[in-house]
């Protein structure tokens, strides 16, 4: 081994310095990347860690000892369970509707030339360029001025969520549509498929990853949203609104338990997805 390295050395000497330099630089970037990932993970680790804390007083700021009690009695805090259920219901329903509306809009905008296209683009873009607090406040003024139609609660939260999610869906699906090879559809039509069949058998499967990504983003935005929900929830509490209320007093470790549980479920699903993508990528590699 050493002999090989020695005989190799003279021939590759000019390249070694360059290679070491590029290796070091590659490493510097890797180290930086991993540090940033560490920074991103740090608060998550703290949330999970403090879900096992056994605080002596009311405040869950300092580590005092390990316990499973918070996990076992996670819903011993009044109102916590209801808040979690409401968040999940709103998240699922709003994502479903917003994904449908957003995908249709993306198809309309990308695939067709029509009068008002620029205005539609702006209409989609504006809610994203409006701070959440303005979205929440303006919607609240609508609901307050039309109390006979809208009572603050489940449905106003749902309306608000669909409204602010839908633009993100449009943008995500649009991005997928723009990079879309239309020759595949033309080929399907050439082979005798009609428009609906082409849409079902070619467009939709190719679009599906974009729609799934959009829906995941939408769901994440929905269950995470505090500001818009806070303005339009009336007395109802989603999980974030519940946390805001209790943060004024003292946050019990059970809040960390719920946040950790949501995180772990989401990450497990996402990991499963990553893993299946990895496997299918391997399979297609094997096939070709």
């Amino acid at each position: 081994m050493t002999a090989v390295a020695q005989t190799m050395q003279p021939r590759s000497r000019p390249g070694v310095g360059v290679r070491v330099w590029s290796f070091a630089r590659r490493h510097a970037l890797t180290v930086y990347a991993l540090l940033v990932v560490g920074y991103l993970m740090l608060p998550i680790a703290v949330v999970i860690l403090f879900s096992f804390n056994d605080p002596k007083g009311r405040f869950n700021y300092i580590w005092e000892g390990f316990t499973f009690d918070n996990w076992i009695e996670w819903d011993s805090v009044l109102g916590l369970r209801d808040a979690v259920v409401l968040s999940l219901e709103i998240g699922l329903l709003a994502t479903l509707i917003a994904t449908a509306l957003g995908t249709l809009m993306a198809l309309g905008i990308v695939r067709h030339q029509f009068r008002g296209r620029g205005a539609t683009n702006i209409l989609v873009f504006l809610p994203m360029s409006t701070p959440e607090i303005v979205l929440g406040a303006s919607l609240l003024t609508l609901f307050l001025n039309m109390t006979s139609v809208f009572a603050l609660g489940f449905w106003t939260i749902f309306i608000a969520h669909v409204m602010f999610i839908v633009s993100f869906i449009v943008v995500t699906v649009k991005a997928r549509l723009i990079g879309f090879d239309r020759h595949l559809e033309e080929a399907a039509m050439d082979l005798g498929a009609n428009e609906w069949t082409t849409f079902r058998k070619v467009t939709l499967p190719l679009l599906a990853p974009g729609m799934v990504a959009a829906a995941l983003l939408g769901f994440a935005l929905s269950i995470d949203d505090f500001v818009i929900t806070y303005f339009n929830s009336g007395g109802d509490q989603t999980f974030p609104v519940f946390v805001w209320g209790i943060a004024r007093v003292a946050v019990p470790p059970q809040v960390n338990v719920v946040a950790s549980a949501i995180f772990l479920i989401a990450i497990a699903l996402a990991l499963a997805n990553v893993f299946s993508q990895y496997r299918s990528a391997k399979r297609t590699q094997g096939a070709t």
Partner: protein
């Protein structure tokens, strides 16, 4: 249905768009009208009257210009910090992470899976006076004997940076990931150094991602009030804190509504300046 659409091909886009447009029209555009109506009213809760009260706007600016300016400064610093943190990471994921790409991408979105308020509260644990970060910084004399991290501008800005980081990183990744590696090979074949290839090929091609990321980070950051509330003191209050308190605590709807408009106008103004600098095509995709 199919034959109907065949005969009226021009209708298809409107059919596709109308549900979404209706939703946004009723629950986004019309409420802005109500907000405008509210901002020109005068009176005390619960009896407001529409009186074209433009003084609401001038009063709001003279009373709260400090918080408004602070919001933009904090949001600007946080956006820049996000870009500096995110670009190398995302570049590394797109070009160097190989089969681990999706895993690291997941790491970027992972903070999203922890409720916003809870992950902000986690910074309370990290930055707490008795916590490890303060202890370390005091030991190496970066912080004084009773120096604090919590309840400072630093805490608020780093909270904002952390919370909106994925908004910067994801569009950046999308634009970097789409870059055809053959373009970089071509640059190398034409004797470009790695630095040149980066500056002349990669960076310009990732510009749409930088633009999108900057917008998606800056806008919510400027309207944020959670970080200032949980990690700061009244000295770090942003415009969002004022709007929220006026709307939901002191029930001063007209002032709250006019402040909302001022915030929106200021952001749109900043956007226009930004659009001129980068070109408007890139802005709306």
């Amino acid at each position: 249905m199919g034959s109907f659409l065949h005969r009226h091909k021009g209708l298809t886009p409107y059919l596709l768009l109308s549900p979404g447009i209706l939703w946004l029209g009723i629950f986004f555009v019309i409420p802005l009208g109500f907000l405008g109506y509210q901002s020109l009213q005068s009176g005390i809760f619960p009896t407001f009257e529409f009186t074209w009260e433009f003084a609401n706007f001038t009063n709001a600016i003279s009373d709260y210009h400090e918080q408004l300016l602070r919001s933009f400064v904090y949001a600007g610093i946080a956006t820049a910090a996000c870009l500096v943190l995110a670009y190398p990471l995302v570049y590394w994921i797109a070009f160097r992470a190989g089969p681990w790409r999706n895993l690291f991408l997941l790491a970027i979105v992972a903070p999203f899976f922890v409720t916003y308020l809870v992950r902000t509260l986690a910074w309370l644990n990290i930055l707490a006076d008795e916590g490890p970060a303060v202890g370390l910084l005091r030991n190496i004399h970066i912080l004084g004997e009773d120096g604090r991290l919590l309840a400072t501008t630093f805490a608020v800005v780093s909270g904002i940076t952390y919370n909106f980081f994925p908004f910067m990183a994801l569009p950046l990744y999308v634009s970097l990931e789409q870059i055809d590696p053959r373009l970089l090979e071509a640059a190398k074949d034409l004797y470009a150094s790695s630095t040149q290839a980066f500056l002349r090929v990669t960076l310009p091609l990732s510009a749409p991602g930088i633009v999108a990321g900057t917008l998606l980070t800056f806008i919510p950051a400027a309207g944020d009030f959670i970080n200032a509330q949980l990690l700061g003191t009244p000295k770090q209050q942003m415009i969002g804190n004022v709007i929220q308190a006026k709307f939901l605590t002191s029930l001063d709807y007209p002032t709250a509504a006019s402040l909302s408009f001022i915030l929106m106008a200021a952001i749109l103004g900043a956007l226009l300046v930004y659009a001129r600098a980068v070109g408007s095509e890139r802005l709306t995709g």
